[in-house]
Symmetry: C2
Subunit: 337 residues, 2 copies
């Protein structure tokens, strides 16, 4: 019998944590024992995994004895507080937060993009920001044909990126709107129902970019191992529940034809081409939700550059954008022993 692993999920009750459990189960991850860790207020609650009810335990410095793999999705401050204990206890931490993503000693990994980077980990591997994961799954096969030099990206980000409470808020606000009631705005800063707004992360005063946009700049450079890649991002929240979309326009060293790009994307891991101009059928959040693949379409020449292409993509922010990618990193670790 092949080896089995003790896995801990820190932040098990969050929107991403719930999806991590589903991914582990559906993908038949070799789990010997599963520990579900969360904050004090969830203690005693149970969650189901593979037909078994598992009690949630409090996340503490002592939670990780015997743990092989610790999947963290409890926010950056929890990761900073508890990851070292997990590593000290012998676990490999796969961290979904922003805490270690730009740490030179921590690889930032998407298995379809830079699997080789897991080799040099020191106990922690970071999971990139959701928008960057989705973008690079689509761009890596094209980057392999000719290096990408410049990306202009606009995002259409769903409420799920701000957690389960933001999804509830969108549904509740929409109901309130339709019933003519006062709208309750508490999780996201502005009205979500039938509205959209610039991403709610803090704006960097010097550059004018929000954190979400700067993640796309810095994480892209780190994962493609090229600090010269220039990225200009606009991150926007839209009233969609679960999957993110992105409009990309990008330039490569040499002009890659639409046909060449299409062929590369058709066989690329993690990508599903959804590109039917005659039927006007392209990637939609509705179709990307609950799907592992990043849907890619609207592949066309960038009319504004001689070396540019444009495409539109949608991907499930909770799956490939978070939980699935973390579990795939764990699978990659196992395959590499």
């Amino acid at each position: 019998m092949s080896k089995q692993y003790t896995v801990a999920v820190a932040g098990a009750t969050g929107a991403v944590g719930v999806e991590m459990l589903k991914c582990l189960e559906q993908r038949g991850f070799p789990v010997k024992h599963l520990k579900l860790l969360a904050s004090k207020r969830s203690i005693g609650r149970e969650m189901e995994f593979a037909g078994e009810k598992i009690k949630i335990e409090e996340l503490t410095q002592d939670s990780f004895a015997g743990v092989d793999i610790a999947l963290f999705s409890a926010g950056a401050s929890r990761s900073r507080e508890f990851a070292a204990s997990a590593v000290a206890a012998g676990a490999v931490v796969i961290d979904n937060s922003s805490a270690f993503r730009l740490d030179d000693k921590v690889p930032l990994v998407v298995p379809e993009v830079n699997p080789e980077d897991v080799k040099w980990h020191n106990g922690i591997i970071a999971n990139p920001n959701c928008t960057t994961v989705l973008m690079l799954v689509a761009l890596k096969p094209l980057h392999d044909i000719s290096p990408i030099q410049r990306i202009v990206v606009s995002t259409y980000q769903s409420a799920s990126g701000a957690g389960a409470q933001a999804m509830d808020e969108l549904v509740n606000q929409t109901r309130q709107y339709l019933e003519g009631e006062d709208l309750v705005i508490s999780i996201l800063p502005h009205q979500s129902a039938f509205n959209l707004f610039s991403h709610n992360s803090a704006i960097d005063e010097a550059s004018g970019y929000c954190e979400e946009e700067l993640k796309m700049v810095n994480e892209t450079r780190k994962m493609l191992h090229d600090p010269r890649i220039r990225v200009s991002a606009t991150a926007v929240r839209v009233p969609v529940l679960r999957a993110h979309a992105e409009a990309l326009t990008f330039e490569q060293v040499r002009k890659v034809s639409v046909e060449e790009a299409r062929q590369a994307l058709a066989k690329a891991p993690g990508v599903k081409l959804v590109d039917d101009p005659k039927a006007n059928y392209f990637p939609m959040p509705l179709d990307a939700s609950d799907q592992d693949e990043v849907l890619v379409g609207r592949l066309r020449d960038d009319l504004s550059s001689d070396r540019g292409l444009s495409l539109f993509l949608c991907g499930d922010q909770l799956l490939k954008g978070a939980a699935l990618n973390a579990v795939q990193i764990a699978e990659l670790l196992i395959r590499r022993g």
Copy 2:
């Protein structure tokens, strides 16, 4: 007493037609007599204008006797069918459809952008596509500082762009979704509720761009009088009811600083700066709806180009994107005699 005009509105019952009436009334347009024209099925219905009930008449070749200004918003085929009769009867046609926009003999006008072009009309003046109007109101003051050479734009277009029925469909579908009912999809091709999709106009087979995107390319060149301007657009429908948003990244001949651009936009006609990074408050459809101004914010250096800037804008698609611009063209004609 200053001169008054007989005004006809062709397509009076549509989403834009209704707004045209409101604009004429609210702006105190010197209307002597108002003719409301629509298809046969609206005959006998009444609409209110300045406290008066006006009967809707059928739009025919004989509708325009005595009409000074004919505002058309009944679709391109009606414009092609009836505009010549209006001109022959002595009216100036201001046409909101795509029928004549790229006709060399027809000026395409946004009063804040190229008012001088009304001079050379031959009876017809075209009103640009909504996304182009909003984009150029924001870009013209910057183009005046240093010519714009390249634009990459992603749109976030509301249901109103597809008419009143599409707005109703979004509301109805959303209600159906929340109540767990089957969703009725009939006006727009895909589910609107909590979803988004590539703009529903036809895709040009050669280029891969949809009509909406190519309008932004061609109309921008025509209005800025520079066929060398390169535009790459991605047009997307989002589940917002009324105002459009656009993320713009653009390059100019020389690098214009954020501060220089901000000063130009602060005093630009038709523009309202909404740019508060500390409060994370930027243009939103919610704030742009029912407003005459195009809201502009997120003004920042384009991190991917040494001569680039980026901004985010929202504008009421039915007002500045359609009805208001048409009425402003009429006002411009009157001012110029």
